[in-house]
């Protein structure tokens, strides 16, 4: 806007501000008195006339739009505060795949968030990244991280998805941190995984320990073999890691007695598109090992194991319902 300002004379700028003000006044309701004042403003100097012409051009453009439709398309009702305009774009983008009906399982997937990150995976991909200090990060399906190594610290920002980190055995004196939306993790050892869910972080420690700090300075140490979920306000209770929790590294899903609906939500992370699930499917429980590189097969298995139908409406839209 600055460069436009620079090319406009002060009179033109004033005229534009006045024109905007007059437009508002006349829209609010015109009296003959007001109209007269407006006309004399218009005739006062050529800049005013010019400014009003600009306004009419703008009005004509807006009038050509099908109003209701245009309003819905621009979604002004859902806009977040303006302070972080760029972030807003990303936030609204994150919403694309998520349909508000409760039974849609689309993994939190934000294409722009992914693509702007330093390292990322597409849905269904797993990738290993070697960091400059010798640590490795393995990214699970649809995950993204930013890596920020400075002379004083090593920091990984988990943007979305899940990562498994093995910190370097080399002696690097810079502290190592993993930042999620809810808290800051400081590994005091070597191997752990972190998953960014919508409103919480889930940490699983496989070796040694990880210290977690929340924004309000609450701290806890999660020891090896334990799993900790936390929001930005509180820690949930520690639970024991069950076998198979890191099976995704081998592109497998190993589960034991999991509600079917939960299982399908898990599968949805590795599939592009959505899986529609009827809520009553939670009453069935499933166990077994499934191949994450072929989720179609897992879905077919479900239809054989339980009295449910799996309908492939398209490659990206699968619906699971009681038979």
């Amino acid at each position: 806007m600055k460069s436009a300002g620079a090319k406009l004379t002060p009179q033109q700028q004033k005229a534009l501000a006045d024109a905007a003000q007059w437009h508002v006044e006349l829209t609010a309701g015109s009296t003959s008195h007001k109209t007269k004042d407006w006309q004399s403003w218009l005739a006062k100097q050529p800049e005013n006339h010019w400014a009003w012409q600009q306004l009419e051009k703008l009005q004509n453009q807006l009038k050509q739009l099908p109003g209701e439709l245009a309003f819905k398309s621009l979604k002004p009702d859902t806009e977040a505060p303006p302070a972080k305009a760029r972030r807003n774009v990303l936030k609204s983008l994150a919403g694309i795949g998520v349909i508000s009906s409760s039974s849609w399982l689309a993994w939190q997937y934000s294409p722009a968030g992914l693509m702007l990150a330093d390292h990322f995976t597409h849905t269904g991909q797993i990738r290993e990244v070697k960091l400059a200090d010798g640590s490795t990060v393995i990214l699970n399906s649809a995950s993204a991280i930013n890596v920020d190594f400075s002379p004083v610290e090593r920091r990984i920002n988990l943007q979305q998805g899940e990562i498994m980190i093995s910190t370097s055995p080399n002696h690097d004196i810079r502290p190592f941190y993993v930042q999620t939306r809810q808290g800051l993790l400081k590994p005091l050892g070597t191997r752990f995984s972190v998953q960014q869910q919508q409103d919480k972080t889930v940490l699983s420690v496989f070796e040694h320990q990880v210290k977690v700090s929340l924004p309000d300075k609450q701290q806890i140490i999660c020891p090896a073999g334990q799993k900790l979920a936390f929001t930005n306000k509180q820690f949930e209770t520690l639970t024991t890691i069950v076998d198979g929790e890191d099976a995704w590294l081998q592109q497998k899903l190993i589960i034991n007695d999991m509600p079917l609906s939960e299982f399908l939500a898990e599968l949805a992370r590795y599939r592009p598109g959505v899986i529609r699930v009827e809520p009553e499917l939670a009453k069935y429980h499933i166990s077994g090992t499934f191949d994450l590189t072929n989720t179609d097969q897992a879905l077919i298995a479900v239809s054989r194991l339980f009295p449910v139908d799996v309908t492939f409406r398209s490659r990206y839209w699968v619906s699971v319902h009681p038979a």
């Binding site: 534009l16 006044e25 807006l62 050509q64 739009l65 309003f71 621009l74």
Partner: protein, 179 residues
């Protein structure tokens, strides 16, 4: 972030293009998994560089051309996705329309182009200002109705409207100067 390895600093735009265009295209392709789109956006990135005010004076001073290109390419990607978001909400809204109000695909293209423009025009205004402006201009609501819906005074709505209108006027002129 890890700075991508760049060839030596660039002396001219031509060199910048020659040395980095296919690299940038690959960088984008890896992210978009669509080579057509990657080619388009790589092209858009250079177009944006060229149209940046005072770019020609700056080209010789770019020390890390690839980091620089990535920064611009990210902005191009954000705009691209922003357009796609609008397109998707438009299509969704269109599907909810009664059939007799059908809109031809040609008309849709024009509407979408205008929507992208308005979205860009209103970017940078506060959410409330933007909402008030669109309720008035697109839904034809009166200031009193807007005030009620947004839970504020009518005089605040008028202030928002004046601010938004002035902003849009300046934006349109800025575009003309730019072209």
């Amino acid at each position: 972030m890890n700075a991508p390895l760049s060839p030596p600093p660039t002396e001219s735009l031509e060199k910048l293009y020659q040395n980095n265009f296919s690299w940038l295209q690959n960088w984008l392709r890896e992210r978009l998994s669509c080579s057509h789109q990657a080619a388009d956006l790589a092209q858009d990135t250079f177009v944006r560089l060229l149209s940046a005010p005072d770019f020609h004076g700056k080209v010789e001073t770019i020390r890390e051309p690839r980091s620089y290109l990535v920064t611009v390419a990210k902005r191009v990607m954000i705009d691209h996705f922003r357009r796609r978001t609008i397109e998707q909400s438009y299509l969704q809204a269109l599907m909810q329309q009664p059939e007799q109000e059908g809109i031809s695909s040609e008309q849709s293209l024009i509407v979408l182009e205008t929507l992208y423009r308005i979205d860009a025009m209103l970017d940078g205004l506060g959410a409330k200002v933007k909402r008030a402006f669109l309720m008035s201009q697109l839904k034809g609501m009166t200031y009193r109705e807007i005030a009620e819906e947004m839970g504020m005074s009518e005089s605040s709505v008028k202030k928002y409207m004046a601010k938004a209108t002035q902003h849009c006027l300046l934006f349109s002129l800025y575009e003309q100067f730019d072209a």
